[in-house]
Symmetry: D2
Subunit: 312 residues, 4 copies
C-alpha cells in the first residue's frame, strides 16, 4: 500500500517509547498502535523529530519502521528518513519500503536558506532515494529554520511526481494552506494531501482553509481525529467546541523543549505507553509541571470524559 | 511617581495608533488610555517592540511617552528605550523621565550570546542612562534570540539597585518564574516585580508560579486584569474559566508576524483605536483571517459579553 | 551627479570618526576625505554598518552625508539609508539627495528569509524612497543573515530601473560574480556595477571574475585602489603581489567584532583620523592586539612603504 | 597511549577520502597517514566536521578510527564522537578507545545557548562516555553557533579531570587564548593543551598567545607543523614569513561551504588522496575555481617548493 495524494484524516506522529534505562520499549510500541487505531487514526508517521529519531541507531530505526508496518492493521506508515547524508537517507528509505512502509518524509537540512538551495536539496534527495518512493515534504521552519514559500513547495510538487503530501508546520501558516489550494484551483499545481502539524494549535481553522487532516502528536489523538471528521462533515461549531475544550492542554504541550515531556507524560497516564522516559539528552517535568498537567486533565475531563479514563 | 519592585497587576503593552497614511493618531492615543484605565490597568508600557518603536522618529517617541504620562491618571508609565546605541538610549530615557515616566525597559541587543556579554551589556546600558532611573529587564528570547538564565537575571538584579522589574517573556518560562522566586526565598536575590508577556499564553499558570501580573498587549486587557485579580484572590478555577474562554482568540493573536495585525484589528473593532493601520513595513490581514477573528469574537461573546460590545 | 551602472574603482566605506567622549569629530571627517581622494578613491560610501550608522541620531546622519557631498571634490557619495522603518529610510534618502548625494545603499532587514520576502522588501523600499533615486543593493549575508541568490538580485535589477549597483559581500562569493556577469552576457540582466566588500579578502580574484572595483573600508585604501587599477590594466601578477603583501594585515582586520577597532587604530596611526574611539557599545583593542597590528605594519612596510608613513 | 594535557605540535584534521562513487577509499587513508607522518604531525584527529562524519554509518566511523590507530605509527589519534544522542556518543567513544584511540573530541549541539546549558551538556556527555576517557572540547562558534566564554571553558576543565585539551576555533579568538593562559598563570585553571583550528588563519599569532599547536586541515600540513616549530624555537619572523607565503591559498581554502572542496582538491593534486570526491550532499569546484587554486599553488611554489611537488 503506497501513500497517495488522497491521504487524509489523522496520521499521529508516534513518539518512540523507551524503558527508563533507555532501551526501546517494544511492548509499548504495540500498545501505542492499538490505541492509535482505536482513536481513529487513518495512518501513522514514525521516526519524526518528536520520535527522537536522531538518537536511534540505524538498525533500531529500521526495526521500529518494520514493527509499525506490521502492527497498524494495513494503515499506511510514513517513515521519517531525514539524515545529514543521502547514503543514510537512501538506506533507511529503501529498506523501510521493503518492510512495507507506504512512503517517507523528508525535512530540509537546517543550513538551507534560498529557494534554489531548497529545490536543489530535494532534487538530490529524490535522486538518492529513487523516484519510485512516495514522499512527504516536511515544512517546519520554527525548528528547522528553513522557510519554504508556497511557490517553492509548488515547484517541488511539480518537479517530483513522487511527492504526494505536505506536512504543513509553518507558524503562522493559515495563509499558506489557502495559497496552495489556490494554486490547485487555478491549475498551476496538481493536488496533494496537506496534513498539518504544530501540535494541532491551529487545526480548527486549518481544516477550514483546506487541510486534509492532521499529522501531529498531541496526546489525545481522538480529539484530532474527531475535529477532522466534524469539519469534514460541515459541523463547524461542534468542531470548535471540541477543539476549544482541549486547547488549554494542547497549548501547554506545545512548549518548545519540554513539549515532548508533557506529551509522553500524558500518554503514559492514559495508558498508551508504559514510561515517559526519553533518551538522553532529553527533557523532564518538574513536580509543579506535572501537577499543572494533572489539573488541566481534570478540567478537560468535564468536557471530554476520555481525559481521565485510563484504558484497561 | 517611580516604578518600584512592588509593581503588580496589568501593564498593557500599548500599540502605537496610526492613521491609514502613517501619521501618528493622537486622538486614538487618548482613547486607548481611557480604555486601559477602565479595563483595570495599573500602569502601561509604551514604545515596546509591538508598539512599532523602531519605526518612530526620536521626537515622535518622546512625544508619545509624554502624552502617556499626562493621560494615564497618575498610573506609572514604563518607556521602552532599547536602541542600537547608548547615546540614543540615554537621550530617550532621561527625557522620558523628565516628562514624568516611572521607569524604562531595556532589551538586550540580538547579537549577545554568552552570560558575560549580557551582563556587560546591562552594565554599559545602566552606566549610560544613569543609576537613578528604575529599569525593567526585557527577557524575550523568541524574538531577540538572547537567552538569559535565572542566574544571569539574578546577577543583573544584584549588580543594579535600579533594576526593579523583569518583563518575563521566555517560552517556555514557567520554571524560570519558580526558580527566580526560589532565589528570593533562599535570600540570594532581592525581590523584584515579575510581569509576564508572550501575549498572555501562559498567564493562568504564570500567576500560580509567582508572577505579579501581566505586561502584554492582548486586545482584551480586561481579561488579563481579571485573571490577575482572580488568581490573587485565590479563585483559581474562576481564573482558568475566564482564561480558557479567551484562549482560542488569544492563541490566534499570538502568531509571529501577523499577531500585531490581529491585535490592532480587534482593538479597532472594540473602539480602542480608530484604525488598524501599521507603519510600513507592516503586516495585514486577509479577508479570510478577518472572518476567522470575527468568528472567534462571536464565540467568545457567549462567555464574555465584552467581546461584542463596542464602546460608545 | 547621479550614480550610474558605470561606476567603478574604489568607494571606501567611511568610518565615522568620533572624539574620545563620543562627539562627532568633524575635523577628522575632512582629513578622511582628503586622504581618500589622495588614495585614488573614485567615490565614497558613508553611513554603512562599519560607519556605526545605527548609533547616530537622524540629524547627525544627514549632516555627515552633507559634509561628504561637499568635501569629496565632486566624486559620487553613496549614503547608507537602511532603517527599520520606511519613513526613516525615505527621510534620509530624499534629504541626502537634496544635499547632493549620488545614490543610496539599502540592506535587507535581517528577518527576511525567502526570495519572495526579499523581492517584496525591495519593492516596498523603492516605493518609499521614490523611483528617481539611484540605489545600491547591499548583499551581506554573514552579518545580515539574509541570503540573496543571483536570480533574486537579477529580479531586483530588472524590476527597478533605479538599481545601478550591487555591493557584493557574500562569502564565499566568487561564483556569484561569475553568475551575474553570465546573466548580463546572455542578455537576461542589464549591466550593473559590482563593487565588492568583505574587507577586501578576495578582491584579487573578484576583479578577475568581473567586479568593477571595491567598496570596503580596509585601512589602506591605496592598496585597494591599486589592485583594482592593476587588474584592469591586465597586470595580474603585480596585482596579486601587492595584494598578498597586505593580506596578513587585511586578514587581521577582518575579524568579526574587533575588526572596526583594528581599522580605526590603523587609520589613526596613519593620520586619517585623530582618534580610534567608537561610540558605545563598541569594541577595543588590548595592548597585545595593538602590538600585533604594529608588528604587521612593520612587516608590511618592507613591501609597501606607505605602511609606516604617517601623513604630515 | 592516552592523550594528555601535554599534547602539542600538529594534529591534522583528517578528511575522509571517498571514491567517486561514494565508497570509502581505504587505500587513500593509508597514503594520508604516511604523508601526515612525513609532514611532521604529532597526532591526528579523525571524524571531525570536515571529515564528513555525519555522512558516515556507525560501523564506517569505527572502522576509520581503528584504521588510523593502527596506521599512525603510535602517534595519538583523537576521534570526533559528537552525536545527537549520548548512546551513540558512548558507543563510538568506548569502542574507539578499545581500538586504541588516545582520546575523543566532543562538540556542543547547536541548540545550546546559555553557560548553564553548555556546562550541563558536557556533564551529561562525560557521564555518558565515562570519566576514564581523555576528551577535547571543540569550541567552534562560527559553524556550531554555540559561544563558550573562557569562564565556561575553565569550569568544564575544572569539573572534569578527563578534559585535557581545547580545540580552539573561535573567531576572533586571540584574546581567548590569552585569557585562558592567564587563568592558568593565576592558578584558577589547571593547564590544558590548546590546539587551534579555523583552517590556520591566525596560527601565526595564536602560537604567540600561548597555543600549543594546530589542529586543522589545511592542505599543507607541513606549513602548519613548521610554523608551530619555528614559533616554539623563538624564530618569530621566520614563522611569519612562511605563514604569509601560504596565506593567499589558506585564505582561499577558508571559505564556508566550498572550503572542503578546495582542501580535497589540493590534497589530491599533492598526492595525499586519490580523489577529491565528497559524499552527497557535498560541494564542488567550478573550472574557474580550480584554475584559481592552480594559480595560487604556482605562486606559492616560488616561496615553498613543496607546493608543486606531487609525491611519487
Amino acid at each position: 500500500m503506497r501513500l497517495t495524494a488522497d491521504a487524509s484524516g489523522l496520521y499521529p506522529i508516534a513518539p518512540t517509547p523507551f524503558h527508563p534505562d533507555g532501551r526501546l520499549d517494544e511492548a509499548s510500541l504495540d500498545t501505542l498502535m492499538e490505541r492509535y487505531i482505536a482513536a481513529g487514526a487513518t495512518g501513522v508517521t514514525v521516526l519524526g523529530i518528536m520520535g527522537e529519531a536522531p538518537k536511534l541507531e540505524p538498525d533500531e530505526s529500521l526495526n521500529i519502521a518494520a514493527r509499525f508496518t506490521k502492527g497498524m492493521a494495513g494503515l499506511p506508515v510514513i517513515v521519517g528518513v531525514s539524515a545529514p547524508g543521502f547514503a543514510a537517507m537512501r538506506w533507511l528509505a529503501r529498506n523501510s519500503m521493503d518492510k512495507g512502509a507506504a512512503g517517507v518524509m523528508i525535512a530540509p537540512i537546517p543550513s538551507l536558506r534560498t529557494d534554489d538551495q531548497i529545490l536543489n536539496y530535494y532534487r538530490q534527495a529524490i535522486e538518492a532515494i529513487g523516484t519510485d518512493i512516495p514522499f512527504v515534504i516536511q515544512d517546519y521552519p520554527l525548528t528547522l529554520s528553513v522557510q519554504m514559500t508556497p511557490k517553492v513547495i509548488r515547484q517541488i510538487v511539480e518537479e517530483h511526481p513522487s511527492c504526494v503530501m505536505l506536512k504543513h508546520e509553518d507558524w503562522p501558516g493559515l495563509e499558506k494552506i489557502s495559497t496552495l489550494r489556490g494554486f490547485q484551483k487555478e491549475g498551476s499545481m496538481r493536488p496533494i494531501s496537506i496534513l498539518t502539524g504544530n501540535g494541532g494549535m491551529f487545526l480548527d481553522f486549518e481544516m477550514e482553509r483546506g487541510a486534509d487532516g492532521a499529522m501531529t502528536g498531541y496526546a489525545f489523538p481522538e480529539m484530532l481525529a474527531d475535529v477532522v471528521k466534524l469539519q469534514k462533515a460541515g459541523k463547524r461549531d461542534e468542531a470548535h467546541d471540541l477543539f476549544d475544550a482541549h486547547l488549554p492542554l494542547l497549548r501547554y504541550e506545545q512548549q518548545q523543549g519540554v513539549g515532548l515531556a508533557v506529551r509522553k507524560y500524558v500518554l503514559m497516564k492514559r495508558g498508551f505507553i508504559a514510561s515517559d522516559a526519553q533518551r538522553k539528552p532529553g527533557s523532564a517535568l518538574t513536580a509543579a509541571a506535572r501537577a499543572e498537567v494533572d489539573y488541566l486533565l481534570a478540567r478537560l475531563a468535564k468536557h471530554d470524559s476520555r481525559a481521565l479514563a485510563k484504558a484497561a
